[in-house]
Amino acid sequence: MSLNPEVIRKDFPIFETQAHGKRLVYLDSAATSQKPRQVVDRIVHFYETENANVHRGVYELGEKATAAYEEARRACARFIGAKSTRSIVFTRGTTEAINLVRFSWGRANVGEGDEILLTEMEHHSNLIPWQLLAQEKGATLRHLPIDDEGKLRVDLLGDYITDKTKLVGMNLMSNVLGTINPVRQVADAAHSAGAVILVDAAQAAPHLSFDVNELDADFLGYSAHKMCGPTGAGVLYGRENLLDEMPPFHGGGEMIREVWADRATWNEIPYKFEAGTPNIAQAVGMGAAVKYLEALGMEEVRKHEMELTGYAIERIASTGATIYGPKDVSERGGVVSFNLDEVHPHDMATIVDQEGVCIRAGHHCAQPLMRRLDVPATARASFYIYNTQEDVDVLIDALEKSKGWFA
């Protein structure tokens, strides 16, 4: 059965609210998604009936909390096709997942003269950690270029992946261009050169069905809050053999096996990387978000978004706007960045807000990409399971109104 956004909207209490007295048209899910009642209720249920610290209490309540937390880990593993929960580390989100790899794997494996390959379309969260590591270690950052349609120049991989490349970091789906990237092709090239590949799946996980084994990813991060889950929860997937060999990230409780006054030994993975009391309720909420999406079916989610994105691109283009990224919806997700000549994105966002429409305006945490596109900023509308063609129509009317102000 195909996905019906009008029915799905009823799961999301936020759509009972209004914006400036009008129907809330939320087109900023690439920043953070709205939350269904099922996820909110699950978090409330945890706090009301299962709350205790995890992996500590011998009492029944502690076992309940641990069971809920570990059940969430199983769901998060299943969602990305990971074979073992040992490879699933709970983090605060994708940014922390990437920084974990930087501090732990990166410091141990990247040295002077080594290269880290990124792409021209990385979010700052998959750029700054590597800039910092490169500065610390005397390594070199390189950036695989994009073409004018916003697609990766994979034809240049042979020049950009060398015997000095230690790590390749790339997103599976761009938060600005919507481009769905050929991760497997890059992974194969990276592995042939003896490098590892880290995949930023923050944008992809909410919208695409994928499998870490098919991608052949060594590391992959994704966040709960962009996929119907709460803020403060995310996952780092890592190959078990890599995680086993890596030194700890944060030190503290939970991540140790045995402690002396001057030294310690480490817990097994994934707990070695989960120092301190984790964001338990958020992780449980992330598990509930996974189950919510699984019940809808990720193939259906993708189908709905392809249809809606196709409609949106056609209608936004009809206003005379420049649209960035691939035009073919089979090559992109539901993130549409655009500019109108007459209206600066910032003014546009303020004006369409008066019509109840939430869009993003700015550099989308991708300043180098903005320079590559030669624009100071763009407007961005992004779509999810609860968006309808009516939402797009309201956006288009609001865009026309914004043009009126500067005519």
């Binding site: 600066h344 003014d347 700015g362 550099h363 100071p376 500067f406």
Partner: protein, 146 residues
């Protein structure tokens, strides 16, 4: 929540300065050139100042950005041109206080600049309105040192 109308933000005088910015362009020769941006939204201003004794003899700007940032900079250059540098700095502080809701501002003194008051009701846009003024304050300090 109080409904705020767009007319309060996009006053005709602001739209006019956005469409036809005054003192747009470099001032050469200049004593100070200073480029600043709002990192979150990408608004950019490059401000040029030429002093004659303690007076701002010449002022011009280059920039890209939203209507509020560019119109505010344009109105600023029109007002500040020929002003004593210390008075210009005091004016910038007045505008900042007005944006912080700390003063109503004297319409006789501020003239067109009063139109910026509508921005106060749009808190996320205040930094747009202040980009030029913050750049001016820094540029005046640079000028006082040289």
């Amino acid at each position: 929540m109080v409904r705020v109308s767009l007319e309060e933000l996009y006053k005709e005088v602001i739209l006019d300065h956005y469409r036809a910015p005054r003192n747009k362009g470099r001032v050469d020769p200049h004593d100070v050139a200073l480029e600043r941006n709002n990192p979150l939204c990408g608004d950019e201003i490059e401000l040029f100042l030429k002093f004659d004794g303690g007076n701002v003899e010449g002022i011009g700007f280059e920039g890209k950005g939203c209507s509020i940032s560019q119109a505010s900079a344009s109105m600023m250059t029109e007002k500040v041109k020929g002003m004593d540098a210390k008075e210009a700095a005091a004016l910038a502080e007045t505008i900042k206080a007005m944006m912080a809701g700390q003063t109503e501002g004297d319409p006789d003194e501020l003239e067109d600049l009063v139109s910026l008051k509508g921005v106060v009701k749009y808190p996320v846009r205040i930094k747009c309105a202040l980009l030029g003024w913050n750049t001016l304050l820094e540029a005046l300090e640079d000028g006082a040192r040289t």
